[in-house]
Symmetry: C2
Subunit: 386 residues, 2 copies
DNA sequence: GCGCTTTCAGAAAGCGCTTTCTGGTAAGGT
DNA sequence: ACCTTACCAGAAAGCGCTTTCTGAAAGCGC
């Protein structure tokens, strides 16, 4: 096996498509003997439809029609055009297509906080799968949780005239941000753009794939109560995220239904480290420890699990732990985490489907509710001493 | 000056999803009050530069220059243009820009096997971060390991005239595929496109971020031998992937250096389930079990770990297990996995930097070697009975 | 005050397509 | 044989920008 090429000369084994005589009108350029320093010259231009038409001996319009099949074209001509396109290695210029006709645009935008996060990666994976089926290209944007960047990306996607913009992840509960986002989205939609989101955006009237965060958290709370727990703490994320607010509220509701008051809420970043830190903080606090901890996302729960282990707290013997989302990793840790399962990939498929469906009509928006299923795994058990 | 006016009547009040939400996946619609006029109008056209120029009372050319700052424009005119653009909510049409000037294109393409896979998600995350810094938009493509789809995506990205195409993940060692890929890439590069890859592509002469798979696997083998192991098995992936071939070869080399012959290679899919299945197969086989197993990727190792646990094989007491890549999850499982650590995010940043750097000159390609670090964790220990 | 160079706004030529619109030709009707 | 249709290829008009190219006005030295 040859070593990877470091500074290797390109072997020009590919001589270009025009090795045979031109069929149609003369293309004098081709005849030009290749000057030795062509290498350094301006890059070879792209093959245009015009060149294909000339090669096939038809008009530009016919070439376009032959390739797109929009109108009937005589079979022999169509054949000639196809052959010419093949021969020249023609690839249409997507920008020109998009400019010439609105249907030419085959891209959608996907905005999430971080593809590196398994939650978003799961949803993105679903979006990619669905997009592939419809021959769409996805422009991905990671905001790294900066609201300003999110707005900027919407603007860029507007510039790209993306068919649809998909916003994954809950919105910020912040008036200024909401206003700015609305200001971006409203003209976009008005101009025919589609918008769909995963998770609730307080002020936005757009098609939504809505995980039942509240109900799911409440159901989880009920399950944990059923295990015998009475003493709970929550590891929460940034309160301005609607997802956090909803899950926390739902969990409280679920406890309240059993007459239990949530004892403690520790706030942390929406990351593995945030969960770790929050758990440490919880353990460091004095007083009786809760018997059960709910982390508002699995990512945080994983961090919390590590923190508990480091502190010598056995899960679930000393303390039960539950998360939310059911990202793949929670099945791999020991003990596997109890969580509220969300069909992430499917949600990704749904959100793009929602966006691409025929518009729901002026001023209408759809909400696709996604039920979360409580999955009890090894990380939860009866409270100690029961 | 009137505000953009296009029906600002939209009431920015959002009632939110009904809290009496029934559980289950269901679709509901909510209605937004809309001004009667707006209802069945054709979509409002986008604001064009022409409109801005008119609003500002200058020519199209001046408006363009004022906004892009390419040439000096009198201050008062520039101010007027900026104000007009703001007022109208002008967003340039990226397609038109890209068509009119090659520099107008601010997109790069990223092709990977599956963003849902933590290995690719990690690299993609790095790419996204670097792209954001340069104000580039990333078009993401997931091939789901179908070679044909990979080729098709390159073609689509060519059509988009992406500034650069990034290929993440090893190439297929398949002549037909290589030829087809070359045929796509060669004209692209010739036309000024940039290509960079992560992992070796046998036939491709392009800038490469090259994890030292071979050396890393060899070093891992040496470390495992040092722990006392003499009896090894490898859980391998599809042999046509260069990454698999290299890691397997490297591991063999490392063992050979200690005079050890690899006993067993079990092949599985390049996924968690593939690793699980391969491990099961290994255990099901008769004869003495190896004392140490190397899975060529962490993703497979995680599956293998689950399989071992299910089979009652203790890790590392009964059998040691090691992986490759150091994806985040391996630190969370118990025991944490020994692996060869690759700086995934950084690799993502590097590959886009490599692609965007000034061309290396005709026919030259760079290789950025990334060393992997052997990280011994709890999943490996002395062989049983030592 | 007269030619000279600068400076900078506007007209216009594309960029590479799609899609009318136009018109020629063949088929069909009487 | 004459007139309608139908069909389909080609000419041409954009799509929304950037960037020459052009020329008017202003600045300058003598």
């Amino acid at each position: 096996m040859t070593a990877p090429a470091h500074g290797q000369e390109v072997v020009p084994k590919f001589r270009g498509p025009a090795t045979t005589a031109p069929l149609g009108v003369e293309l004098s350029e081709r005849e030009t003997p290749v000057h030795p320093d062509t290498r350094r010259r301006a890059p070879a231009a792209h093959v245009t439809l015009d060149a294909v038409a000339r090669e096939a001996g038809v008009s530009l319009a016919t070439a376009s029609r032959a390739l797109n099949g929009t109108t009937r074209v005589r079979d022999d001509l169509r054949g000639r055009v196809r052959a010419a396109a093949d021969l020249l290695g023609y690839i249409p210029n997507a920008h020109a297509q998009a400019l010439a006709s609105p249907e030419g645009n085959r891209t959608v935008g996907l905005i999430c906080h971080d593809v590196g996060d398994p939650y978003f990666a799961g949803i993105a994976s679903g979006v990619m799968r669905a997009a592939a089926e419809q021959d769409l290209l996805v422009m991905l944007a990671s905001t790294f949780r900066e609201p300003a960047r999110e707005i900027a990306y919407v603007s860029m996607l507007r510039a790209q005239r993306a068919r649809a913009i998909l916003l994954i992840g809950s919105g910020f509960q912040d008036r200024a941000w909401e206003r700015a986002m609305d200001a971006e989205l409203e003209p976009y939609v008005r101009a025919g753009g589609r918008v769909a989101v995963v998770s609730r955006h307080r002020s936005m009237r757009v098609d939504t794939v809505q995980p039942e965060n509240r109900a799911g958290a409440a159901a989880l709370a009920a399950s944990l109560v059923a295990l015998g727990h009475r003493d709970f703490a929550v590891l929460s994320g940034p309160p301005e995220l609607t997802t956090v607010a909803d899950r926390l509220a739902g969990f409280r509701e679920g406890l309240a239904a059993a007459g239990i008051t949530l004892r403690r809420v520790v706030r942390g970043a929406f990351t593995r480290e945030g969960g770790h830190a929050a758990a440490c903080q919880l353990l460091a606090a004095g007083g009786a420890r809760p018997t059960c901890v709910f982390a508002v996302t699995d990512v945080m729960a994983v961090g919390a699990l590590a923190a508990l282990r480091e502190a010598g707290v056995r899960v679930p013997e000393d303390m039960s732990l539950a998360g939310f989302d059911d990202i793949p990793v929670v099945r791999e840790v020991s003990p596997p985490l109890t969580t509220v399962a969300l069909p992430l990939t499917e949600m990704g498929e749904q959100v793009i489907a929602l966006a691409l469906r025929t518009p729901s009509g002026a001023g209408r928006s759809r909400v696709l509710r996604i039920e979360g299923n409580v999955v009890l795994r090894g990380s939860t058990g009866a409270p100690p001493g029961s």
